[in-house]
Amino acid sequence: MTERVIVIGAGHNGLACAAYLAKAGREVLVLEAADRVGGAAITREFAPGYRVSGCAHICYQLDPGIVQELGLASLGLKTAQANLRTVALAAEGDHLVLHAGELEAGALPDRDRAALREYHSRMLRFARVLGKQHNRRPPRIGGGGRSELIGAAMLGLDIRRLGRASMREFLRIAGINIFDVLEETFDTPLLKGALAFDAVLGANLGPRSNNSVLTLLHRLSGQATGVTGGLSLPEGGMGAVSEALAAAARAGGAMIRTGSAVARITLEAGRISGVELKSGEKLAAGIVISNADPAHTLLRLLGARNLETGFVHRIRHFRSKGMAAKLHLALDGLPSFARLSAERAGARLVIAPDPGYIERAFDHAKYGECSPHPALEITIPSIHDRSLAPPGQHVLSAIVQYAPFDPRASSDSARAGLLDRTLGLLERYAPGLRRQVVASELLLPADIEREFRITGGHWHHGELALDQLLMLRPVPGAAQYAMPVHGLYLCGAGCHPGGGVMGSAGRNSARAVLAGERAA
């Protein structure tokens, strides 16, 4: 029997899930609390005339299979700039321009150049192991079934296929920290800083925290599995990805209702019966799939009393406190970074002079303070996409690390302090930038929680950590998209394969729903 399916949340995963289910002929209704689709993959106007990707701002993991299967290109998804270079900024202008393991500009000792090539291919090889799992339903631990055993064996086989030496190296570094790996590989501090930052972006980790190699591999997994264009900026910002997915869902017959916040998921005799909106409207559905984060879905929309104690305990302790802030600046001109061409300024700019700098920035955040000297990932998308700012003007989007979810100071003073220090830092690299600022916005993790309805304000819905990945994501016993209550599924970044704008969780979840129907 097929029943109506409700998808809570029109984030990119919810939309991908809806598109696949609609394509399979299901009656799908997507409910979005905000007035527009997109969730954290959204382009929004933060000052009159200035638009920017509101949360995620670089596309590097979108599954090419999804782009193709759903025909996103023909639905309007275009790339404004592909193959973004990474520029490790140096205040004095001795920048390093990096792309695909090669140094394109700047000065590095020969040893580091060679090491960079080797490091890049090694990490990509390892990242491929993770990437291969993205489109698989993770095996259930202790499930005992044949498909579970095969699933676990496939993962083991992918690791074994690396070859003996590489497998050993993979197992050696997968759980350790990026600091040690970089120390044993490179000499140049600026290079190490930029590479270390890749490993801790968006994470509650410093370079010396164990698990930081794994977050790097997760980040690289998109490129490793052949995301075309590497790091790219979609035309019209990240919202364009969501718009294309929404168009795909609608094309398949899915209904999308915005401005429809779900108050709770309703049950009848222990089975899902639908949802109730904040407006009081009740909508019936035999299957509810939530794109919201696990804690919001299970503890608030469904309610702990409808779940078992041990499961609730695990969901409550799913680590989901964000550590990254998001800065948006409206500028009345292009900032000028010392000895960086206007063309290069359109690259991915990184301020992380050395791994120790990032670690010290993290130290403060661990104890409830925003970093006095934050590390930044900067894009100026308006260089490639003139639709984002008025003529001659620009928008700057930056990830600022670190900012704790619950700062000891009031959030207003924490926000003001971090904004001031970040502008001061930018001023050092791009003198005169402060005077160019027309409008600014800094979102702390708590703001991100509110704005994007993500518990804890973590971009990936939860830490990408060894104990929260694959069959452990979000928690053991719930990693196969189906929740313990009959008819309830998760499809967001809180599930395997996690955050980053991939769409894989949405597609995998849709497959799990269809497989569940067949089994019933």
């Binding site: 049950l267 005799a269 222990g270 503890l299 309610g303 702990a304 009393r305 409808n306 779940l307 078992e308 104690t309 041990g310 499961f311 609730v312 305990h313 409550r316 016993g477 313990p484």
Partner: protein
């Protein structure tokens, strides 16, 4: 625990210790959850005889007690416990078990419905951690008040007469698992018709400051009714006769099991009647439904063993000498005049009529001997006198 200095005391005396220590002529004690408890007072066999022929008093104060109050007390308990707590009306007590998510029993105990939104949960093991973990999402307050309630079990045929003699007027009309209050020594004495002996008997609950007055009244008024103190040895025989199970003996609490195989589900403890699938959600429901479909791994049975040597920790064999079970509790039952045992059997063994053998080792004058004794599966308790349920309770 309200007493900040509690850690300085390794073992607590119970509120009755001034009396129990006087009466414990054997000076035999052990530690029961941080309290000192008598193994036996003068002779375990005679103490047991008092349970079945007169009445005996057991100091129940160390029993872990929790007070669960608040608007969500009932929904909280209904999620925690496998049976339907809504069916336990105010003024009633229910025997219950609670499970983890895997449907394995964490502990068994009794839930007292004191008044609407106000329950007492008694357990063998410390449960505060699990209860606190279960609170999330419920408007409920949980206090472990073990230290703040003094409790005695008064068990045996003359127990009702003794209670009437100390002033509990009308207590004979209390039905099994009922609760009643009586004015006593300027406070409220709570009496529940409950116990661990399978006999006519009561449990008495009072504030610790009045504990000694209660003890003295019982022993003064009970003298002519054959009242005796009893220790855990005597109680152990009575509870096995009644067929009651005990945590750490007949099952391993699920939260203490390292190997999943070691814990048991309610079905595997012959407590399927305590599982109510009509409730849409409770801890372990999904796993227990699955177990019902798939079949259980074990079965708890009561065995009547040939001969007179208690089959303690014995292996149970089938006719082909395959090990098919293990004895968890065993005693010679003076009342049933039988050699009785509780055993955990591998499925599908343990049905009435199965040919089963217990391998019993015993020692005489330091010489070990072994005997294979035929076992018969018995349904129901080994000793189940009508007076246990008769209301009004007789005086004897």
């Amino acid at each position: 625990m309200r007493h900040k200095e509690h850690f300085r005391t390794a073992v607590y005396p119970t509120p009755f210790h001034p009396r129990t220590s006087q009466l414990n002529t054997l000076n035999q004690w052990h530690k029961w959850k941080d309290y000192t408890t008598a193994d036996a007072f003068f002779d375990a066999a005679l103490e047991y005889a008092a349970i079945r022929n007169a009445c005996a008093v057991f100091d129940l104060s160390p029993m872990t007690k929790h007070r669960i109050t608040g608007p969500d007390a009932l929904p909280f308990l209904n999620r925690l416990i496998t049976r339907d707590v809504a069916k336990i009306k105010a003024g009633r007590v229910g025997y219950c078990v609670w499970c983890d998510d895997n449907g394995r029993v964490i502990d068994d105990g009794t839930v007292f419905h004191l008044q609407q939104g106000d329950y007492r949960l008694c357990s063998q093991e410390r449960q505060l951690d699990w209860l606190a973990r279960s609170v999330y999402g419920f408007d409920v307050s949980i206090v472990e008040d073990t230290h703040d309630v003094a409790a005695l079990a008064l068990q045996g045929p003359t127990s009702c007469a003794v209670l009437k003699a100390i002033g509990c007027r009308g207590v004979e009309r209390l039905t099994p698992f009922g609760i009643a209050y009586f004015p006593f020594a300027g406070t409220d004495l709570m009496v529940s018709r409950t116990g661990f002996t399978g006999d006519l008997g009561y449990e008495l609950w009072i504030e610790p400051a009045r504990a000694l007055e209660l003890w003295d009244a019982l022993f003064e008024k009970g003298a002519n009714h054959g009242i005796r103190p009893m220790g855990t040895h005597a109680l152990e025989v009575a509870r096995i006769e009644a067929g009651f199970i005990q945590a750490q003996v007949d099952f391993l609490p699920a939260d203490q099991a390292i190997m999943q195989d070691r814990s048991r589900s309610p079905f595997e403890l012959d407590l399927g009647r305590l599982v109510d699938f009509n409730k849409p959600n409770f801890n372990g429901r999904r796993a227990l439904l699955e177990e019902q479909k798939r079949g259980s791994r074990y079965r708890l049975v009561r065995l009547d063993v040939e001969g007179n040597k208690p089959a303690r920790s014995a292996y149970i064999y089938d006719s082909k000498r395959n090990v098919v079970g293990t004895v968890t509790s065993a005693e010679w039952s003076p009342s049933a005049k039988a050699n009785i045992a509780l055993a955990s059997m591998h499925m599908p063994w343990g049905l009435p009529g199965d040919e089963l053998w217990a391998e019993i080792y015993y020692q005489r004058e330091l010489k070990w001997s072994r005997v294979m004794s035929r076992c018969r599966v018995v349904e129901g308790a080994f000793f189940d006198p009508p007076r246990r349920r008769a209301t009004p309770a007789a005086d004897f």
